[in-house]
Protein backbone atom coordinates (compact mmCIF):
# COMPACT_ATOMS: atom_id res chain seq x y z
CA UNK A 1 0.00 0.00 0.00
CA UNK A 2 1.27 3.46 -0.85
CA UNK A 3 1.10 6.24 1.69
CA UNK A 4 1.15 9.93 0.81
CA UNK A 5 1.74 12.42 3.59
CA UNK A 6 1.08 16.14 3.28
CA UNK A 7 2.58 17.77 6.31
CA UNK A 8 1.76 21.46 6.78
CA UNK A 9 3.64 21.77 10.03
CA UNK A 10 6.58 19.46 10.28
CA UNK A 11 8.19 20.88 13.35
CA UNK A 12 6.01 19.03 15.84
CA UNK A 13 5.19 15.41 15.40
CA UNK A 14 1.54 14.56 15.17
CA UNK A 15 0.37 18.02 14.19
CA UNK A 16 -1.19 19.29 11.02
CA UNK A 17 -0.59 16.92 8.20
CA UNK A 18 -2.46 15.17 5.48
CA UNK A 19 -1.87 11.51 4.94
CA UNK A 20 -3.22 9.79 1.87
CA UNK A 21 -3.18 6.02 1.74
CA UNK A 22 -3.36 4.31 -1.62
CA UNK A 23 -4.73 0.84 -2.32
CA UNK A 24 -2.98 -1.93 -4.22
CA UNK A 25 -3.96 -0.36 -7.54
CA UNK A 26 -2.50 3.00 -6.56
CA UNK A 27 -5.87 4.71 -6.06
CA UNK A 28 -6.87 6.60 -2.91
CA UNK A 29 -8.12 4.36 -0.14
CA UNK A 30 -8.19 6.83 2.76
CA UNK A 31 -7.24 10.40 3.57
CA UNK A 32 -6.51 11.79 7.02
CA UNK A 33 -6.30 15.52 7.65
CA UNK A 34 -4.83 16.30 11.04
CA UNK A 35 -5.15 19.83 12.45
CA UNK A 36 -2.90 20.90 15.30
CA UNK A 37 -4.68 21.65 18.51
CA UNK A 38 -3.56 24.19 21.04
CA UNK A 39 -3.61 22.38 24.34
CA UNK A 40 -4.61 23.21 27.86
CA UNK A 41 -6.93 26.17 27.30
CA UNK A 42 -9.44 25.00 29.90
CA UNK A 43 -6.72 24.57 32.51
CA UNK A 44 -5.33 27.97 31.56
CA UNK A 45 -8.56 29.88 32.16
CA UNK A 46 -9.81 28.07 35.27
CA UNK A 47 -9.32 30.26 38.31
CA UNK A 48 -9.45 33.53 36.40
CA UNK A 49 -12.33 36.04 36.64
CA UNK A 50 -14.87 35.87 33.81
CA UNK A 51 -14.19 39.56 33.08
CA UNK A 52 -10.75 38.54 31.87
CA UNK A 53 -12.08 36.15 29.22
CA UNK A 54 -12.71 38.78 26.51
CA UNK A 55 -9.11 39.93 26.97
CA UNK A 56 -7.43 36.54 27.28
CA UNK A 57 -9.35 34.68 24.61
CA UNK A 58 -8.58 37.31 22.02
CA UNK A 59 -4.97 36.24 22.51
CA UNK A 60 -5.83 32.71 21.37
CA UNK A 61 -5.55 33.79 17.81
CA UNK A 62 -3.67 36.48 15.94
CA UNK A 63 -6.01 36.10 12.98
CA UNK A 64 -9.40 36.76 14.53
CA UNK A 65 -8.98 38.20 18.04
CA UNK A 66 -12.09 40.35 17.49
CA UNK A 67 -14.26 37.24 17.11
CA UNK A 68 -13.03 35.76 20.39
CA UNK A 69 -13.42 39.14 22.10
CA UNK A 70 -17.06 39.31 21.00
CA UNK A 71 -17.99 35.69 21.78
CA UNK A 72 -16.36 35.91 25.22
CA UNK A 73 -18.05 39.26 25.93
CA UNK A 74 -21.46 37.83 25.05
CA UNK A 75 -20.77 34.77 27.19
CA UNK A 76 -19.73 37.06 30.06
CA UNK A 77 -23.01 39.02 29.64
CA UNK A 78 -24.84 35.70 29.95
CA UNK A 79 -22.81 34.62 32.99
CA UNK A 80 -23.93 37.81 34.76
CA UNK A 81 -27.43 37.61 33.21
CA UNK A 82 -27.10 41.19 32.02
CA UNK A 83 -28.40 42.71 28.80
CA UNK A 84 -26.16 45.52 27.45
CA UNK A 85 -27.85 48.75 26.28
CA UNK A 86 -28.68 48.99 22.56
CA UNK A 87 -25.87 51.46 21.89
CA UNK A 88 -23.30 49.09 23.41
CA UNK A 89 -24.49 46.22 21.23
CA UNK A 90 -24.34 48.46 18.17
CA UNK A 91 -20.80 49.57 19.00
CA UNK A 92 -19.69 45.96 19.32
CA UNK A 93 -21.34 45.05 16.02
CA UNK A 94 -19.88 48.14 14.33
CA UNK A 95 -16.37 47.14 15.43
CA UNK A 96 -17.10 43.60 14.30
CA UNK A 97 -18.34 44.72 10.87
CA UNK A 98 -15.13 46.67 10.28
CA UNK A 99 -13.10 43.63 11.36
CA UNK A 100 -15.04 41.46 8.90
CA UNK A 101 -14.21 43.84 6.06
CA UNK A 102 -10.51 43.57 6.89
CA UNK A 103 -10.52 39.81 7.28
CA UNK A 104 -12.58 38.95 4.19
CA UNK A 105 -10.53 41.39 2.09
CA UNK A 106 -7.28 39.75 3.13
CA UNK A 107 -8.57 36.27 2.42
CA UNK A 108 -9.84 37.09 -1.04
CA UNK A 109 -6.87 39.09 -2.29
CA UNK A 110 -4.01 37.28 -0.55
CA UNK A 111 -5.27 33.72 -0.34
CA UNK A 112 -8.26 32.68 -2.38
CA UNK A 113 -8.13 35.23 -5.16
CA UNK A 114 -4.72 34.34 -6.63
CA UNK A 115 -6.01 30.92 -7.71
CA UNK A 116 -8.59 32.63 -9.87
CA UNK A 117 -6.88 35.85 -10.88
CA UNK A 118 -3.61 34.09 -11.76
CA UNK A 119 -5.13 30.69 -12.42
CA UNK A 120 -4.80 27.46 -10.46
CA UNK A 121 -2.02 26.26 -12.78
CA UNK A 122 0.06 29.45 -12.56
CA UNK A 123 3.57 29.02 -11.13
CA UNK A 124 3.69 29.20 -7.35
CA UNK A 125 5.94 32.27 -7.55
CA UNK A 126 3.13 34.18 -9.29
CA UNK A 127 0.11 32.73 -7.51
CA UNK A 128 0.04 35.26 -4.67
CA UNK A 129 -1.03 38.81 -3.92
CA UNK A 130 2.05 40.23 -5.68
CA UNK A 131 1.02 38.38 -8.81
CA UNK A 132 -2.49 39.78 -8.49
CA UNK A 133 -1.13 43.32 -8.19
CA UNK A 134 1.13 42.88 -11.18
CA UNK A 135 -1.65 41.42 -13.28
CA UNK A 136 -4.55 43.66 -12.35
CA UNK A 137 -2.67 46.83 -11.43
CA UNK A 138 -1.09 48.65 -8.52
CA UNK A 139 -4.37 50.36 -7.78
CA UNK A 140 -5.72 47.07 -6.41
CA UNK A 141 -2.93 46.74 -3.88
CA UNK A 142 -3.49 50.28 -2.71
CA UNK A 143 -7.19 49.64 -2.19
CA UNK A 144 -6.51 46.43 -0.24
CA UNK A 145 -4.12 48.26 2.09
CA UNK A 146 -6.59 51.16 2.43
CA UNK A 147 -9.42 48.78 3.34
CA UNK A 148 -7.26 47.11 5.96
CA UNK A 149 -6.19 50.48 7.35
CA UNK A 150 -9.79 51.65 7.73
CA UNK A 151 -10.71 48.39 9.42
CA UNK A 152 -7.82 48.69 11.87
CA UNK A 153 -8.73 52.32 12.59
CA UNK A 154 -12.34 51.50 13.49
CA UNK A 155 -11.25 48.58 15.69
CA UNK A 156 -8.86 50.92 17.50
CA UNK A 157 -11.41 53.73 17.88
CA UNK A 158 -14.08 51.49 19.39
CA UNK A 159 -11.97 48.65 20.79
CA UNK A 160 -9.29 50.79 22.39
CA UNK A 161 -6.46 48.91 20.70
CA UNK A 162 -5.56 48.31 17.09
CA UNK A 163 -5.26 44.54 17.20
CA UNK A 164 -6.61 43.08 20.41
CA UNK A 165 -9.68 45.07 21.43
CA UNK A 166 -10.30 45.53 25.15
CA UNK A 167 -13.43 47.64 25.60
CA UNK A 168 -16.18 44.98 25.75
CA UNK A 169 -16.99 44.02 29.32
CA UNK A 170 -19.90 42.20 30.98
CA UNK A 171 -22.90 44.48 30.48
CA UNK A 172 -21.59 46.56 27.60
CA UNK A 173 -18.68 48.79 26.70
CA UNK A 174 -16.15 50.85 28.63
CA UNK A 175 -16.18 53.69 26.12
CA UNK A 176 -18.31 55.10 23.37
CA UNK A 177 -17.56 57.28 20.37
CA UNK A 178 -17.78 61.03 19.85
CA UNK A 179 -19.72 62.71 17.04
CA UNK A 180 -16.40 63.56 15.38
CA UNK A 181 -15.35 59.91 15.47
CA UNK A 182 -18.76 58.88 14.20
CA UNK A 183 -18.39 61.06 11.14
CA UNK A 184 -14.93 59.66 10.45
CA UNK A 185 -16.18 56.09 10.78
CA UNK A 186 -19.08 56.85 8.44
CA UNK A 187 -16.74 58.22 5.78
CA UNK A 188 -14.59 55.10 5.98
CA UNK A 189 -17.67 52.86 5.87
CA UNK A 190 -18.97 54.47 2.71
CA UNK A 191 -15.57 53.92 1.11
CA UNK A 192 -15.75 50.26 2.24
CA UNK A 193 -19.07 49.81 0.41
CA UNK A 194 -17.48 51.07 -2.80
CA UNK A 195 -14.49 48.80 -2.27
CA UNK A 196 -16.73 45.76 -1.73
CA UNK A 197 -18.65 46.55 -4.91
CA UNK A 198 -15.37 46.95 -6.75
CA UNK A 199 -14.25 43.54 -5.45
CA UNK A 200 -17.47 41.88 -6.59
CA UNK A 201 -17.09 43.45 -10.02
CA UNK A 202 -13.55 42.13 -10.20
CA UNK A 203 -14.83 38.66 -9.32
CA UNK A 204 -17.57 38.99 -11.89
CA UNK A 205 -15.18 40.07 -14.67
CA UNK A 206 -12.28 37.74 -13.96
CA UNK A 207 -13.90 34.62 -12.55
CA UNK A 208 -17.48 34.51 -13.79
CA UNK A 209 -16.36 35.77 -17.18
CA UNK A 210 -14.06 32.78 -17.57
CA UNK A 211 -15.82 29.55 -18.50
CA UNK A 212 -12.88 27.48 -17.26
CA UNK A 213 -13.16 28.95 -13.78
CA UNK A 214 -16.94 28.59 -13.70
CA UNK A 215 -16.56 24.93 -14.69
CA UNK A 216 -13.97 24.49 -11.95
CA UNK A 217 -16.32 26.01 -9.37
CA UNK A 218 -19.27 23.94 -10.51
CA UNK A 219 -17.28 20.73 -10.96
CA UNK A 220 -17.82 17.66 -8.83
CA UNK A 221 -14.33 17.70 -7.29
CA UNK A 222 -15.27 20.43 -4.83
CA UNK A 223 -18.92 19.54 -4.23
CA UNK A 224 -20.46 18.06 -1.09
CA UNK A 225 -24.10 17.81 -0.03
CA UNK A 226 -24.13 18.55 3.69
CA UNK A 227 -26.07 20.51 6.29
CA UNK A 228 -25.29 24.23 6.57
CA UNK A 229 -25.06 26.42 9.68
CA UNK A 230 -25.17 30.16 10.17
CA UNK A 231 -26.46 32.83 12.54
CA UNK A 232 -29.60 34.69 11.49
CA UNK A 233 -31.61 37.63 12.78
CA UNK A 234 -35.35 37.58 13.50
CA UNK A 235 -36.05 37.73 9.75
CA UNK A 236 -33.70 34.82 8.99
CA UNK A 237 -31.20 37.23 7.44
CA UNK A 238 -27.45 36.74 7.92
CA UNK A 239 -26.07 38.35 11.07
CA UNK A 240 -22.50 38.05 12.34
CA UNK A 241 -22.96 39.38 15.88
CA UNK A 242 -26.31 38.29 17.25
CA UNK A 243 -29.32 36.09 16.68
CA UNK A 244 -30.10 32.38 16.55
CA UNK A 245 -28.11 29.63 14.92
CA UNK A 246 -30.02 28.18 11.99
CA UNK A 247 -29.22 24.89 10.29
CA UNK A 248 -30.64 23.85 6.92
CA UNK A 249 -30.51 20.36 5.46
CA UNK A 250 -28.85 19.46 2.14
CA UNK A 251 -32.12 20.36 0.38
CA UNK A 252 -32.15 23.81 1.93
CA UNK A 253 -35.01 23.12 4.35
CA UNK A 254 -34.72 24.43 7.90
CA UNK A 255 -33.62 21.61 10.16
CA UNK A 256 -33.32 23.54 13.41
CA UNK A 257 -32.97 27.09 14.72
CA UNK A 258 -31.57 27.30 18.22
CA UNK A 259 -30.68 29.99 20.74
CA UNK A 260 -27.02 30.05 21.87
CA UNK A 261 -27.81 28.58 25.29
CA UNK A 262 -29.19 25.43 23.62
CA UNK A 263 -26.14 24.57 21.52
CA UNK A 264 -25.29 21.45 23.51
CA UNK A 265 -28.69 19.94 22.63
CA UNK A 266 -27.82 20.10 18.95
CA UNK A 267 -24.08 19.71 18.60
CA UNK A 268 -22.10 16.64 19.60
CA UNK A 269 -18.46 15.76 18.92
CA UNK A 270 -17.12 12.64 17.28
CA UNK A 271 -13.68 11.33 18.18
CA UNK A 272 -11.27 9.60 15.80
CA UNK A 273 -8.15 7.85 17.06
CA UNK A 274 -5.88 9.49 14.48
CA UNK A 275 -6.34 13.15 15.44
CA UNK A 276 -6.33 15.34 18.53
CA UNK A 277 -9.25 17.43 17.33
CA UNK A 278 -12.88 16.33 17.60
CA UNK A 279 -15.42 16.41 14.78
CA UNK A 280 -18.62 18.31 15.67
CA UNK A 281 -21.83 16.97 14.12
CA UNK A 282 -25.59 17.40 14.42
CA UNK A 283 -26.61 15.33 17.39
CA UNK A 284 -30.17 14.69 16.20
CA UNK A 285 -28.99 13.37 12.82
CA UNK A 286 -26.09 11.38 14.20
CA UNK A 287 -22.55 10.60 13.14
CA UNK A 288 -22.49 8.35 10.06
CA UNK A 289 -18.87 8.92 9.06
CA UNK A 290 -17.33 11.28 6.55
CA UNK A 291 -20.21 11.10 4.13
CA UNK A 292 -22.58 13.47 2.33
CA UNK A 293 -26.33 13.41 2.52
CA UNK A 294 -29.36 14.09 4.66
CA UNK A 295 -28.67 11.11 6.92
CA UNK A 296 -25.18 12.31 7.81
CA UNK A 297 -24.79 14.76 10.70
CA UNK A 298 -21.85 16.50 9.03
CA UNK A 299 -22.44 20.25 8.71
CA UNK A 300 -20.48 23.17 7.37
CA UNK A 301 -20.11 26.67 8.87
CA UNK A 302 -18.52 29.10 6.40
CA UNK A 303 -19.54 32.18 4.37
CA UNK A 304 -21.22 29.82 1.88
CA UNK A 305 -23.10 27.99 4.61
CA UNK A 306 -24.21 31.27 6.19
CA UNK A 307 -25.79 32.26 2.89
CA UNK A 308 -27.33 28.81 2.49
CA UNK A 309 -28.70 28.84 6.04
CA UNK A 310 -30.34 32.26 5.67
CA UNK A 311 -33.24 33.66 3.70
CA UNK A 312 -31.13 36.59 2.49
CA UNK A 313 -28.96 39.53 3.45
CA UNK A 314 -30.29 42.34 5.66
CA UNK A 315 -28.84 45.12 3.49
CA UNK A 316 -30.02 46.07 -0.01
CA UNK A 317 -26.84 45.87 -2.11
CA UNK A 318 -25.75 42.59 -0.55
CA UNK A 319 -29.27 41.22 -1.07
CA UNK A 320 -29.00 41.97 -4.81
CA UNK A 321 -25.75 40.04 -4.92
CA UNK A 322 -27.28 37.21 -2.88
CA UNK A 323 -30.03 36.85 -5.47
CA UNK A 324 -27.55 36.94 -8.33
CA UNK A 325 -25.41 34.32 -6.59
CA UNK A 326 -28.22 31.76 -6.40
CA UNK A 327 -29.63 32.63 -9.82
CA UNK A 328 -26.19 32.04 -11.37
CA UNK A 329 -25.36 28.86 -9.48
CA UNK A 330 -28.69 27.11 -9.92
CA UNK A 331 -30.67 27.85 -6.77
CA UNK A 332 -30.37 27.11 -3.05
CA UNK A 333 -28.48 25.61 -1.46
CA UNK A 334 -25.19 25.87 -3.30
CA UNK A 335 -23.02 22.85 -2.53
CA UNK A 336 -19.91 23.76 -4.51
CA UNK A 337 -17.23 24.65 -1.98
CA UNK A 338 -15.28 26.96 -4.28
CA UNK A 339 -18.35 29.23 -4.39
CA UNK A 340 -17.35 30.14 -0.84
CA UNK A 341 -14.98 32.74 -2.30
CA UNK A 342 -17.90 34.49 -3.98
CA UNK A 343 -20.05 34.17 -0.84
CA UNK A 344 -17.22 35.78 1.14
CA UNK A 345 -17.29 38.85 -1.11
CA UNK A 346 -21.07 39.15 -0.69
CA UNK A 347 -20.50 39.06 3.06
CA UNK A 348 -17.85 41.75 2.62
CA UNK A 349 -20.46 43.98 1.01
CA UNK A 350 -22.98 43.19 3.73
CA UNK A 351 -20.41 44.00 6.45
CA UNK A 352 -19.63 47.35 4.81
CA UNK A 353 -23.31 48.25 4.44
CA UNK A 354 -24.01 47.19 8.02
CA UNK A 355 -21.05 49.33 9.13
CA UNK A 356 -22.71 52.42 7.62
CA UNK A 357 -26.16 51.41 8.87
CA UNK A 358 -24.90 51.17 12.45
CA UNK A 359 -22.75 54.30 12.43
CA UNK A 360 -25.63 56.40 11.09
CA UNK A 361 -28.03 55.24 13.81
CA UNK A 362 -28.86 58.27 16.00
CA UNK A 363 -28.19 56.22 19.14
CA UNK A 364 -24.62 55.18 18.24
CA UNK A 365 -23.05 58.11 20.13
CA UNK A 366 -25.24 57.55 23.20
CA UNK A 367 -23.50 57.66 26.57
CA UNK A 368 -25.71 54.81 27.77
CA UNK A 369 -23.33 51.98 26.94
CA UNK A 370 -23.21 49.86 30.08
CA UNK A 371 -25.69 48.01 32.25
CA UNK A 372 -24.22 47.26 35.63
CA UNK A 373 -24.38 43.53 36.47
CA UNK A 374 -26.25 42.84 39.68
CA UNK A 375 -26.97 39.11 39.49
CA UNK A 376 -24.81 36.34 40.95
CA UNK A 377 -22.76 34.87 38.10
CA UNK A 378 -23.23 31.23 37.16
CA UNK A 379 -22.91 30.02 33.59
CA UNK A 380 -23.07 31.62 30.17
CA UNK A 381 -22.82 30.95 26.46
CA UNK A 382 -21.94 33.44 23.74
CA UNK A 383 -22.07 32.78 20.01
CA UNK A 384 -20.94 34.95 17.11
CA UNK A 385 -20.17 34.16 13.50
CA UNK A 386 -16.39 34.28 13.11
CA UNK A 387 -15.24 34.72 9.50
CA UNK A 388 -14.33 31.01 9.55
CA UNK A 389 -17.57 29.77 11.08
CA UNK A 390 -19.83 29.76 14.10
CA UNK A 391 -17.84 30.49 17.25
CA UNK A 392 -19.19 29.27 20.59
CA UNK A 393 -17.81 30.24 24.01
CA UNK A 394 -19.23 28.54 27.11
CA UNK A 395 -18.10 29.33 30.66
CA UNK A 396 -19.08 28.11 34.09
CA UNK A 397 -18.16 30.21 37.14
CA UNK A 398 -18.50 30.09 40.90
CA UNK A 399 -20.57 32.70 42.74
CA UNK A 400 -17.65 35.16 42.60
CA UNK A 401 -17.44 34.97 38.82
CA UNK A 402 -14.27 32.89 38.84
CA UNK A 403 -14.16 30.47 35.91
CA UNK A 404 -14.45 26.81 36.92
CA UNK A 405 -14.86 25.31 33.45
CA UNK A 406 -14.76 26.41 29.82
CA UNK A 407 -15.69 24.98 26.44
CA UNK A 408 -14.98 26.53 23.06
CA UNK A 409 -16.07 25.38 19.61
CA UNK A 410 -14.13 27.53 17.17
CA UNK A 411 -14.89 28.27 13.54
CA UNK A 412 -12.56 25.82 11.88
CA UNK A 413 -13.53 22.99 14.21
CA UNK A 414 -17.08 23.05 12.83
CA UNK A 415 -15.65 22.43 9.40
CA UNK A 416 -13.21 19.72 10.33
CA UNK A 417 -15.29 16.89 8.86
CA UNK A 418 -16.13 18.77 5.62
CA UNK A 419 -12.47 19.75 5.15
CA UNK A 420 -11.51 16.12 5.65
CA UNK A 421 -14.08 15.11 3.04
CA UNK A 422 -13.01 17.79 0.55
CA UNK A 423 -9.35 16.89 0.92
CA UNK A 424 -10.21 13.24 0.32
CA UNK A 425 -12.26 14.02 -2.75
CA UNK A 426 -9.57 16.27 -4.27
CA UNK A 427 -6.94 13.60 -3.69
CA UNK A 428 -9.18 10.87 -5.10
CA UNK A 429 -9.84 12.84 -8.26
CA UNK A 430 -6.16 13.53 -8.87
CA UNK A 431 -4.41 10.33 -7.97
CA UNK A 432 -5.13 7.52 -10.40
CA UNK A 433 -3.26 4.24 -10.62
CA UNK A 434 -0.39 5.54 -8.56
CA UNK A 435 0.17 8.64 -10.66
CA UNK A 436 0.43 11.78 -8.58
CA UNK A 437 -0.11 14.82 -10.76
CA UNK A 438 1.89 17.97 -10.29
CA UNK A 439 -1.32 19.84 -9.63
CA UNK A 440 -2.11 17.72 -6.61
CA UNK A 441 -0.62 20.04 -4.05
CA UNK A 442 -2.45 23.09 -5.24
CA UNK A 443 -5.69 21.25 -5.93
CA UNK A 444 -5.63 19.84 -2.40
CA UNK A 445 -4.71 23.27 -1.08
CA UNK A 446 -7.63 24.77 -2.97
CA UNK A 447 -9.94 22.23 -1.36
CA UNK A 448 -9.14 23.36 2.14
CA UNK A 449 -8.32 26.99 1.32
CA UNK A 450 -11.98 27.63 0.49
CA UNK A 451 -12.78 26.92 4.14
CA UNK A 452 -10.11 29.42 5.27
CA UNK A 453 -9.10 27.03 8.05
CA UNK A 454 -7.26 28.31 11.08
CA UNK A 455 -4.64 25.74 11.99
CA UNK A 456 -3.47 27.34 15.16
CA UNK A 457 -2.06 30.48 16.52
CA UNK A 458 1.61 29.75 16.95
CA UNK A 459 2.35 29.71 13.25
CA UNK A 460 3.88 33.18 13.36
CA UNK A 461 6.92 31.91 15.22
CA UNK A 462 9.96 31.67 13.01
CA UNK A 463 10.36 30.46 10.37
CA UNK A 464 6.64 31.17 10.24
CA UNK A 465 5.94 28.99 7.28
CA UNK A 466 3.64 26.07 6.73
CA UNK A 467 5.39 23.61 4.47
CA UNK A 468 3.20 21.15 2.65
CA UNK A 469 4.96 17.89 2.20
CA UNK A 470 3.68 14.93 0.27
CA UNK A 471 5.49 11.72 0.96
CA UNK A 472 4.59 8.84 -1.28
CA UNK A 473 5.28 5.53 0.36
CA UNK A 474 5.51 2.08 -1.13
CA UNK A 475 3.59 -0.95 0.06
CA UNK A 476 5.96 -1.34 2.99
CA UNK A 477 5.58 2.26 4.06
CA UNK A 478 8.97 3.36 2.75
CA UNK A 479 9.11 6.80 1.14
CA UNK A 480 9.77 6.62 -2.58
CA UNK A 481 9.12 10.24 -3.48
CA UNK A 482 8.81 13.50 -1.58
CA UNK A 483 7.04 16.53 -3.01
CA UNK A 484 7.40 19.71 -1.03
CA UNK A 485 6.27 23.28 -1.20
CA UNK A 486 5.45 25.96 1.29
CA UNK A 487 1.98 27.30 1.40
Amino acid sequence: MQRISIDPITRLEGHGKIEIFLDEQGNVANTYFQIPELRGFERFVVGRPIEEMPLITNRICGVCPEAHHMAASKAADAVYKVDPPRAAKMLRELLYSAFYCTDHTTHFYALGGPDFVMGPDAPVAERNILGVIHKVGLEIGGKVIQMRKYGHTVVEMIGGRKVHPCTSIPGGMTKGITEEQRQEIETMGRWAIEFAQFSLKLFNDIVLGNKGYVDLILGDVYTHHTYYMGMVDENNKVNFYDGKVRVVDPNGKEFVKYAPQDYAEHIAEHVEPWTYLKFPYLKKVGWKGFVDGIDSGVYMATPLSRLNASDGMATPLAQEQYEKFYATLGGKPVHQRLATHWARLIELLYAAERWVELVTDPEITSANIHTKPTQIPTEGIGIVEAPRGTLTHHYWTDERGVVTKANLIVGTTNNYAPIQMSTHKAATSLIKNGNVTEGLLNMVEMAFRAYDPCFGCATHSLPGQMPLEITIRDVDGNPVEVLKQFC
Partner: protein, 158 residues
Protein backbone atom coordinates in the same frame (compact mmCIF):
# COMPACT_ATOMS: atom_id res chain seq x y z
CA UNK B 1 16.99 57.45 12.23
CA UNK B 2 13.78 55.84 13.49
CA UNK B 3 14.13 52.33 14.83
CA UNK B 4 11.34 49.89 15.70
CA UNK B 5 11.97 47.01 18.09
CA UNK B 6 9.19 44.40 17.99
CA UNK B 7 8.63 41.44 20.25
CA UNK B 8 6.65 38.93 18.22
CA UNK B 9 4.67 35.96 19.47
CA UNK B 10 1.70 34.90 21.50
CA UNK B 11 2.14 35.73 25.20
CA UNK B 12 -0.19 32.94 26.34
CA UNK B 13 1.35 30.12 24.32
CA UNK B 14 4.33 29.24 26.47
CA UNK B 15 7.71 29.73 24.81
CA UNK B 16 6.06 31.48 21.87
CA UNK B 17 5.85 34.52 24.16
CA UNK B 18 9.62 34.88 24.56
CA UNK B 19 9.76 37.74 22.01
CA UNK B 20 7.45 39.79 24.22
CA UNK B 21 9.47 39.07 27.36
CA UNK B 22 12.68 40.21 25.67
CA UNK B 23 11.07 43.33 24.20
CA UNK B 24 9.60 44.33 27.56
CA UNK B 25 13.02 44.14 29.21
CA UNK B 26 14.64 46.03 26.34
CA UNK B 27 12.04 48.78 26.80
CA UNK B 28 12.86 49.09 30.50
CA UNK B 29 16.59 49.33 29.86
CA UNK B 30 16.46 51.88 27.05
CA UNK B 31 16.87 55.51 27.91
CA UNK B 32 13.95 57.61 26.66
CA UNK B 33 14.51 58.28 22.99
CA UNK B 34 11.77 59.26 20.62
CA UNK B 35 13.61 57.70 17.71
CA UNK B 36 13.41 54.19 19.20
CA UNK B 37 9.99 52.59 19.58
CA UNK B 38 9.47 49.24 21.31
CA UNK B 39 6.28 47.26 20.66
CA UNK B 40 4.86 43.77 21.22
CA UNK B 41 2.74 42.19 18.49
CA UNK B 42 1.08 38.87 17.66
CA UNK B 43 1.23 39.42 13.95
CA UNK B 44 3.03 38.36 10.80
CA UNK B 45 2.93 38.95 7.07
CA UNK B 46 0.93 41.92 5.81
CA UNK B 47 -0.10 43.08 9.29
CA UNK B 48 3.48 43.13 10.50
CA UNK B 49 4.60 44.93 7.36
CA UNK B 50 1.98 47.61 8.02
CA UNK B 51 3.55 48.24 11.42
CA UNK B 52 7.02 48.66 9.90
CA UNK B 53 5.98 51.49 7.58
CA UNK B 54 7.82 54.73 8.28
CA UNK B 55 10.82 53.27 10.12
CA UNK B 56 14.41 53.32 8.91
CA UNK B 57 15.28 50.06 10.56
CA UNK B 58 13.65 47.32 12.58
CA UNK B 59 14.67 44.59 14.99
CA UNK B 60 12.28 41.64 15.29
CA UNK B 61 12.48 39.29 18.27
CA UNK B 62 10.66 36.00 17.90
CA UNK B 63 10.48 32.38 18.95
CA UNK B 64 12.38 30.17 16.55
CA UNK B 65 11.02 26.71 15.89
CA UNK B 66 14.09 24.58 15.48
CA UNK B 67 15.48 21.22 16.43
CA UNK B 68 18.21 22.85 18.44
CA UNK B 69 18.97 23.39 22.09
CA UNK B 70 16.17 25.26 23.79
CA UNK B 71 17.14 28.88 24.28
CA UNK B 72 19.89 29.08 21.66
CA UNK B 73 19.88 32.48 19.96
CA UNK B 74 20.22 33.24 16.26
CA UNK B 75 20.79 36.73 14.88
CA UNK B 76 20.27 37.23 11.17
CA UNK B 77 19.18 39.72 8.57
CA UNK B 78 15.68 39.22 7.26
CA UNK B 79 17.08 39.45 3.74
CA UNK B 80 19.33 36.48 4.46
CA UNK B 81 16.51 34.30 5.74
CA UNK B 82 15.02 31.90 3.25
CA UNK B 83 11.63 32.98 1.98
CA UNK B 84 10.19 29.54 2.42
CA UNK B 85 7.00 30.54 0.76
CA UNK B 86 8.79 31.21 -2.54
CA UNK B 87 6.44 34.16 -2.91
CA UNK B 88 3.52 31.98 -1.97
CA UNK B 89 1.40 32.22 1.15
CA UNK B 90 3.27 31.45 4.30
CA UNK B 91 0.35 30.46 6.45
CA UNK B 92 -3.27 29.69 5.94
CA UNK B 93 -4.04 33.35 6.42
CA UNK B 94 -1.24 35.57 5.26
CA UNK B 95 1.85 36.04 3.12
CA UNK B 96 5.43 35.79 4.28
CA UNK B 97 6.91 38.97 5.72
CA UNK B 98 9.38 39.19 2.84
CA UNK B 99 6.52 38.92 0.38
CA UNK B 100 4.49 41.51 2.27
CA UNK B 101 7.43 43.93 2.33
CA UNK B 102 7.88 43.60 -1.41
CA UNK B 103 4.18 44.26 -1.83
CA UNK B 104 4.37 47.32 0.44
CA UNK B 105 7.35 48.72 -1.44
CA UNK B 106 5.68 48.18 -4.80
CA UNK B 107 2.79 50.29 -3.48
CA UNK B 108 5.13 53.07 -2.45
CA UNK B 109 5.29 52.47 1.30
CA UNK B 110 8.48 53.54 3.08
CA UNK B 111 9.82 50.39 4.73
CA UNK B 112 13.11 49.74 6.52
CA UNK B 113 15.98 48.38 4.50
CA UNK B 114 17.64 47.04 7.62
CA UNK B 115 15.56 44.41 9.35
CA UNK B 116 17.38 42.23 11.84
CA UNK B 117 15.83 39.14 13.38
CA UNK B 118 16.74 37.82 16.82
CA UNK B 119 15.37 34.29 17.12
CA UNK B 120 15.30 32.22 20.29
CA UNK B 121 14.98 28.45 19.82
CA UNK B 122 11.81 27.04 21.38
CA UNK B 123 9.90 23.79 21.28
CA UNK B 124 6.85 24.15 23.49
CA UNK B 125 4.55 26.52 21.64
CA UNK B 126 1.25 24.64 21.56
CA UNK B 127 0.45 24.69 25.26
CA UNK B 128 -1.45 27.53 26.87
CA UNK B 129 0.78 29.05 29.52
CA UNK B 130 2.20 32.43 30.39
CA UNK B 131 5.43 30.82 31.59
CA UNK B 132 8.56 30.12 29.56
CA UNK B 133 10.58 26.90 29.79
CA UNK B 134 13.58 27.30 32.14
CA UNK B 135 16.20 27.21 29.32
CA UNK B 136 14.26 29.87 27.44
CA UNK B 137 14.01 32.01 30.58
CA UNK B 138 17.78 31.75 30.91
CA UNK B 139 18.23 32.93 27.32
CA UNK B 140 16.27 36.15 27.88
CA UNK B 141 19.11 38.29 29.39
CA UNK B 142 21.47 37.37 26.56
CA UNK B 143 18.80 38.14 23.95
CA UNK B 144 18.14 41.49 25.64
CA UNK B 145 21.87 42.27 25.50
CA UNK B 146 22.01 41.41 21.80
CA UNK B 147 18.98 43.58 20.99
CA UNK B 148 20.39 46.54 22.95
CA UNK B 149 23.68 46.22 21.08
CA UNK B 150 21.81 46.17 17.77
CA UNK B 151 19.82 49.22 18.81
CA UNK B 152 23.01 51.08 19.61
CA UNK B 153 24.60 50.41 16.27
CA UNK B 154 24.40 53.54 14.20
CA UNK B 155 24.80 51.83 10.90
CA UNK B 156 23.63 48.32 10.62
CA UNK B 157 25.27 45.82 8.37
CA UNK B 158 23.53 45.56 5.06
Amino acid sequence: MKTLVVGLGNPILGDDGVGWKVAEKVYLQLSPDQSIIVDCLSLGGISLMEHLIGYDRAILIDAFAADEDLGSIHVMKLNDMPDYSAYHISSAHDTSLQNAIEMGRSLGAYLPEDIMVVGIATHRIYDFSEALSPPVVEAVPQAVKIVLELVQQNVMAR
